[in-house]
Symmetry: C2
Subunit: 388 residues, 2 copies
Amino acid sequence: MANFVFNQFIPTRLFFGCGEISKLATETLPGKKALLVISAGTSMRRFGYLDKVINLLGKNKVEVVVYDKILANPIKSHVMEAAELCRKEQCDFIIGLGGGSSIDSAKSIALMACNEGDYWDYMFGGTGKGKPAIGGALPVVAIPTTAGTGTEVDPWTVITHNNEKIGYGIAPLFPAVAIVDPEMMISVPAHLTAYQGFDAFFHAAEGYIANVATPISELYSLKSIELIYKSLPKAVADGRNIEARSDVALASTLAGMVESTSSCTSEHALEHAMSAYYPELPHGAGLIVLSVAYFSAFVNDVPERFMKMAEAMTGTKSNDPQDFIKALIAMQKACNVEALKLSDYGIVEGDLAKFAANARATMGGMFSLDPRALTDEDVLAIYKQSYR
Amino acid sequence: MANFVFNQFIPTRLFFGCGEISKLATETLPGKKALLVISAGTSMRRFGYLDKVINLLGKNKVEVVVYDKILANPIKSHVMEAAELCRKEQCDFIIGLGGGSSIDSAKSIALMACNEGDYWDYMFGGTGKGKPAIGGALPVVAIPTTAGTGTEVDPWTVITHNNEKIGYGIAPLFPAVAIVDPEMMISVPAHLTAYQGFDAFFHAAEGYIANVATPISELYSLKSIELIYKSLPKAVADGRNIEARSDVALASTLAGMVESTSSCTSEHALEHAMSAYYPELPHGAGLIVLSVAYFSAFVNDVPERFMKMAEAMTGTKSNDPQDFIKALIAMQKACNVEALKLSDYGIVEGDLAKFAANARATMGGMFSLDPRALTDEDVLAIYKQSYR
């Protein structure tokens, strides 16, 4: 049973659906001059998304300054540089266009445009100083072009600095507006579609077994889990299947609402530790590798939760919590990600103890949300079972 | 299938659960001096709720001015009088404490504290002038002591003036804070518990069959329908059953979220027309009387929707949309409301044509959200079938 004392706050105005990007031209936006944050990759220009967004903003009489250096695992120095640019250009809101890296960076830039000092002054965990961000943040408009992070409807941003990959969230970082348009996602290649879709899946599943789940977060979780199981393999198989893309996009946004109402658990801490040291490891790929061992660790702690997730996936009544693990493995196979190997990203077995220590040190809070407290030995065992 | 292009915006900060009223003393509230709006009845004082709230606000250093004239079907003249008091006392936010009448009035007062002229200048429909409320509204804190309206998480307020009972809603009227504490509901008598619970049920069910339902609103609808079917009879039978009260309170809030993401349909217009002329008729009682004929009118238009609702209620697979009607009647019996008669409230058969015309004239927009467009003859037939 989920907690019957809870709070809920998701102040983002969400526009969802094919063609909804056009709302940029017609809706009241939270400012007149935007810093538009995109990745250092080529896709936003190559697929015409950047031009389209600038054109629509022009119709809404919004000026645009582009910052285009964000890395796949976004880093602090870009946050600081872009915040400086934002102040200099006197932008009054930030648009994050792209994957989670661009939108998370947009949030962190929005924070540093309004607060003095260094971004790490405000981080909790790791070497962060935990200062309160009394300056608040500029408003953020989030336009995801991937279906995975759910960051468009949550207050969280994950930035890396010196092997510390730390999540941070305060109420002013909820995007004021989120536009989730599945047509902006059709260009994502198959393997990234799979990694990102699994990231969303784990937001939903971790949030469902988390000890802070609520009667409302579990609605979002189960629907997200159902949609991803049903449609992620189709979106991976054919990226132009717009119905499957829409299902996965909705699932990702619902999973973001899970992050705003429940929370990720320590699986995310375990993964962040890995990609903090190996930034070439995609976050979703890292989660996929860890997931069977991680979830298996809790099967007997909250068996009814696992059976409910299995039922959402398969559509049939479950009497065995292992049904979830079986369905998870089946979905990995259907998405061609069952053979992912950490060693392919250069990770060696000798790294695992370091990851375990880093996960606890930088994102220790997530461990308190697991269905059962994992010991350091448990954590190392999950890494070892997942390693190949 | 629900609409796959939709928007969602529920900016209210919700605190839910037994004891959560204490958040009044500890959370940041949206002002320092509150106009506290309660009904003209005695229950807020008699059960100690008013003292409790004022005491908690005092701990939070919030000053309070009480306005205690609101009627069960709240009227425009009280909105105008209280807005005047609010300006005179320089209150900077409004608290609605009580049933939907007090919270809706708080919203309308918040509007008129910031806008010139007459409240009806801003109404759409009926003799309203449809002026834009450019002044916005003061922030509202909603503390429901009944489980029915869901107004604590939606932008809607329903006020009556000269036989026009009209709903109005704009974004600034979403409560900034909602505190839903089931312990504040245990004093509601059995028959009102039933009427209010059915009101919530119809918000959920109408929102589920509405042609503007979304993939998210339907999650709220089905959970609300499930909880009410399961627990409303228990809350009616024993008002001190706090678990049942909590289920029904959560269902009511979820149904309010349905009103913010989908919409009520014309059943609500049909009922408002009746209680506009007969303000002694409780809103929920009017809905109960209409419901079997109203929902039966759509059984063949969206049969799969009715079967899904039946499944949420009974927990068993449905292959017949009439299962919903059967379960609705069973729930009426379980809550001792199956024998309600409009004639007991003084309504005569000659009134029915007048109701039909009023419903269309004052709340015509709701008819456009039905699964199928009802003709005037259809509407009159629903009234006639429901009359005794």
